[in-house]
Symmetry: C2
Subunit: 655 residues, 2 copies
């Protein structure tokens, strides 16, 4: 099947990668050179794409989990006819280029996207988890796709990863789950080159990856000479497509194969240098002094690949025109993209009164369940994928009438869960809701960050907020967590004070293409005079006005009611701030109107650290130690977070 | 070897655990009941301890990784003669008790510790990583222990974990490393009860744990009836002690064995109720209506266990009195504990001038390497354990003359690394230094938090701080990270501006029993007129005074020099703040003296988000988006963080 011309094309690809990295004099040439054969076989023989329509819904998905090998991906996308010119490749790792150091899924305000980049990768291990998420989303699509227009029997998620990814815990979590779920649509090529930055993998990574993945329930195949034996790579991918399990293909390669310093970590993270590039080209019998050279023969190969794919796309397009549920599918992909806070408020408002009657007085984790149910019943039934990291009975993520393909038992795997959610969101057509205790934000943060960078929407249903989690103690009580969420770009904090604000928070979250972290109570809270629209649209508002007041109490969540009680006694006004981040984004005028006074006359009250609240308040009634194990009532008293304690602190401030 | 009386003792232990959880009407009875047999065999037949001297340096270590099973640990410690009375057990999960919901390693200011609690557990997976760290520390002790006084051939680290721990990525990371390092002193009992909170493990965890651990290079043994076959448990632990690999003993049990709702998640997280406790006692033929009952026969068994152990301790004590290096070892354990900033400054000051000459103009990651070398050469040679998550050539963690047993190649496993560091620190006698890029704080945070709660000292050598990491782009550029560190309790941020502050930061960190995160530059910085003592002791100080100034620039790290240049042009003064956290802790007077002006006339300058800097400054020149891929110079210009940009922003503020 393969000819000498294919080998030449691969060698040209290797040299192109070296040139790409050489241009900015920084980057990673070794992995792209070593992985060129597997990428070549994958893209020329298996991947189904339309480079003219990179968002083609029925395309295969590709994830370069070892994102530092970006030069390979950009080069391949260039050859496959995506909108990456040689000039773009020459702008590798320079400001505002389409070819940043690591692949970035970016959607600019003008809708432009880096084509062919399904997910942002670089932080190791997460790409694999994203791929698992995409594979799950593919399966979840099937009940809505009886004619297999989006997901046919050939549809696959492909990923390439290296040793680094496989050492990361997040990859372990996701791959173990993939095995449990028998995700046969997932095929991972593992670049087994025995080299990491510190030296040979034997220093830190002596495990049998094959044994481990077989233990996970994967099909594991091996290609012994991944440098030259492209037929073996082809055969392995072909065999993988027949498997009823996810497949890991262990492709043994030499990092920087053909380079002077091949098989050492010195080709990993530094360009080869001009002489090194010449050496490489000479080794492959290519013109030493030409850079960015792709022969006409190689161009022809890719021309055929592009044409073959475009034909498939055309055939699909014709079939799609006849598809009975064409509009429904189109709507699916646009719906999530276009869902706005305004439209959601409109759709949900008629149900609010009943919702409040049913949920008043309940814990916000309970109103959360009801809010998710309401979102499901009114708007999102077809679009939501829900799951929790083995805390469904605590986080209350199970709802009625949900299609079972849209529920995920994530297991005790918080970071894997969030990275899988990113993959689901990147796949499109779904909005993921995942769940754990709020304190375990600290396990999840690495994945939430990448989701935020990529503007992927996930709603994190994090419950058991604050010390009022109670008896489980300090390890389980978030103290610094709200501040850490608020410090992030592209992540909204939501700490609603009652059921109505909870519903408002979900509307605010569902209507924004960002990461959203709910901070929901374990303990009951009363329905206050809260405001759903202002919650969703502005993040803070006056919940208890008092013209005579000289101070404003600024609070959130379960402390809002206590603050209102204190305000009534001490002649104050109260602002409820369900989302610090959203409130921070409001106009200066709105903020002034809500806060009314200068910083000196604002007292913030939260059972969290004061850090960050100083943006709005000179005075903060806070908790500046880790929590303790006790019931909520005792904790409230001890930390001065009951009415008596807050009143006392407020009085001391006002004196 | 075992008699009916042992079985009765185990049954009484099960019922005691149920009673403990019943008292506060909250907690986890199922795992303690199910794991009672393995804990009984381990503590009565293998564990070497002195409950009268719980800090005995030669003791075996025990980690309950599934920390929610704390009732079992407290009950066992009570029976083994540790300072836990029945009254303490009755205070389970109540404020200020010694028996919080999860085991907490706490050292109060009066030196009191919860005896027998080696590490804080609860956040799943981390306990296993802590155990790996302890096993590594044991091995690192050997070169200093020729007579095997601290670590003899019987010394082991034992851990018990459940399904939850094994699903967590952090455990995967640590256990893979343990296999690579052939940590034969590590024995883990895995409570394989097939139940998690969401239901049966088959929902999310269908992998072969045995296969996976064998792939890691572990010895895996199995006990098929962990409910009754205590001889098999004994034989397995005995066999494990003969292995030249770490051992996982898969003990199949039924959660809540004997309880009415055994083998279901309903016995996991809720007490059995009064009737449930009665049912359990009846099932075991014990008096139904007695609570906290331990028969005299059982007491006698434990009396013998305690006596046997005390005799061993006495034998050891006599031998230790004769040991040639007795004082050296005693000093080792007290040295780290007593190391103070003051004493370190004294010891290091004579070398500072030479240090500055050699390191001026270098990147702070380079001065960091020199500072660690200097700490090694002058003070810490015997005490430091260093390693990086596969970034030694970037984070520069390799130093000369370090004992190889004190260097760890962690592999690409950031959270595992930090949790292993916690284990090393908890073992005692060593201070761990670990390393990665600063942005990957977001992978590490869950472990750093538990270290902070436990007041375990680790120095995190995190390099490539800020956007000035450059071409690797937004995924690798920390923007929110400093704020997230500063928001934490018990964690110090250190962002030194030059080589001298870098050395000061290490002194400040080495002298404080906390978690410390260094934020070190990739790019070069000049030696400024910086102050080592003030860095280490106060966290901020005036680096450029100007009596005529109307504004203070408050900055850190690589921006301090730029701020000084701007201050010279615009008639300002500059405060260098290498540690926000340490500065926040200073007296009001010191802070006022340093800052000089009110908030309105302070301008903070950092290439990070403004969040949190508002504590000191009304105005913040910051970066409120994720970074981009480009060289440092282009980034500085684009983000307004070069001199021109900062000058322009400052002028706009002052107008």
């Amino acid at each position: 099947m393969f000819t000498q011309q294919d080998k030449t094309a691969i060698n040209e690809l290797r040299c192109l990668c070296a040139d790409v990295v050489q241009t900015p004099k920084s980057g990673h040439p070794g992995a792209p050179i070593g992985m060129s054969p597997m990428a070549y076989v994958l893209f020329t023989k298996f991947m189904r794409f339309s480079s003219k329509n990179p968002e083609w819904m029925a395309r295969d998905r590709f994830v370069l989990s070892s994102g530092h090998a970006s030069a390979l991906l950009y080069s391949m996308l260039h050859l496959c006819g995506y909108d990456y010119s040689i000039e773009d490749l020459k702008k590798f790792r320079t400001l505002h280029s389409k070819t940043p150091g690591h692949p970035e899924r970016v959607e600019y305000s003008n809708g432009h996207k880096n084509p062919g980049i399904e997910v942002t990768t670089g932080p190791l291990g997460q790409g694999l988890a994203n791929a698992v998420g995409m594979a799950i989303a593919m399966d979840a699509m099937k009940p809505y796709d009886s004619e297999n227009m989006v997901v046919d029997k050939e549809a696959r998620v492909y990923a390439i990863c290296g040793d680094g990814c496989l050492q990361e815990g997040v990859a372990s979590e996701a791959c173990s789950l993939a095995g449990t779920k028998k995700l046969k649509n997932l095929i991972v090529l593992y670049d087994d080159n025995s080299i990491t930055i510190d030296g040979r993998t034997s220093l830190s990574f002596a495990e049998s990856v094959k044994g481990r993945f077989e233990a996970y329930g994967w099909n594991v195949l091996e290609v012994k000479d991944g440098n030259n034996d492209i037929q073996a790579i082809y055969d392995a991918i072909n065999a993988a497509k027949q498997s009823d399990k996810p497949t890991l293909i262990k492709v043994t390669t030499i990092i920087g194969y053909g380079a002077e310093k091949q098989d050492s970590h010195s080709v990993h993270g530094s360009p080869l240098g001009p002489e090194g590039c010449q050496y490489l080209k000479k080794a492959y019998g290519l013109p030493e002094n030409e850079s960015f050279r792709i022969s006409q023969e190689t161009r022809n190969i890719f021309k055929q690949v592009i044409e073959k794919n475009e034909q498939s796309y055309q055939v699909w397009q014709q079939k799609f025109e006849q598809c009975a549920y064409k509009q429904e599918i189109l709507d699916r992909f646009s719906f999530i993209q276009n869902m706005s806070v305004k439209s959601l408020i409109e759709k949900i408002t008629p149900a609010v009164q009943k919702f409040n009657e049913e949920n008043k007085g309940k814990a916000t984790r309970q109103s959360s369940q009801a809010a998710i149910q309401l979102l499901h019943d009114t708007v999102l039934a077809k679009y939501m994928i829900i799951g929790s990291a083995d805390l469904a009975p605590s986080c209350l993520t199970t709802i009625k009438n949900l299609n079972p393909a849209q529920y995920i038992y994530f297991g005790v795997r918080e970071m894997g869960m969030c990275a899988i959610s990113n993959g689901i969101s990147a796949y499109g057509g779904f909005v993921p809701f995942d769940a754990t205790f709020l304190v375990f934000f600290n396990y999840c943060m690495g994945a939430i960050r990448v989701g935020a960078i990529s503007k992927l929407q996930t709603i994190h249903v994090f419950t058991h907020d604050s010390i009022f989690l109670g008896e489980d103690g300090g390890t389980h009580q978030p103290i610094e967590t709200l501040a850490q969420i608020r410090a992030m770009i592209g992540v909204y904090d939501w700490r609603p004070c009652d059921c109505q604000e909870t519903l408002g928070a979900y509307i605010g979250a569902a209507g924004r293409k960002s990461q959203h972290v709910m901070a929901l109570t374990r303990q009951n809270v009363n329905l206050l005079n809260s405001n759903l629209e202002k919650t969703a649209e502005h993040g803070a508002y006056v919940i208890y006005e008092n013209e005579a007041a000289k101070f404003t109490l600024l609070s959130s969540g379960s402390e809002v009611e206590t603050c209102i009680n204190v305000a009534k006694k001490l002649n104050l006004r109260v602002v409820s701030m369900p989302s610090f981040k959203l409130f921070s984004e409001q106009s200066k005028t709105y903020k002034q109107e809500v806060l009314k006074f200068n910083r000196e006359n604002i007292i913030a009250v939260e059972p969290y650290v004061s850090f960050g609240l100083e943006r709005f308040a000179e005075h903060v009634i806070s908790i500046e130690t880790y929590g303790a194990s006790a019931n909520a009532k005792d904790l409230a008293k001890f930390y001065g977070m009951d009415q008596e304690g807050i009143e006392k602190s407020v009085k001391a401030i006002m004196q």
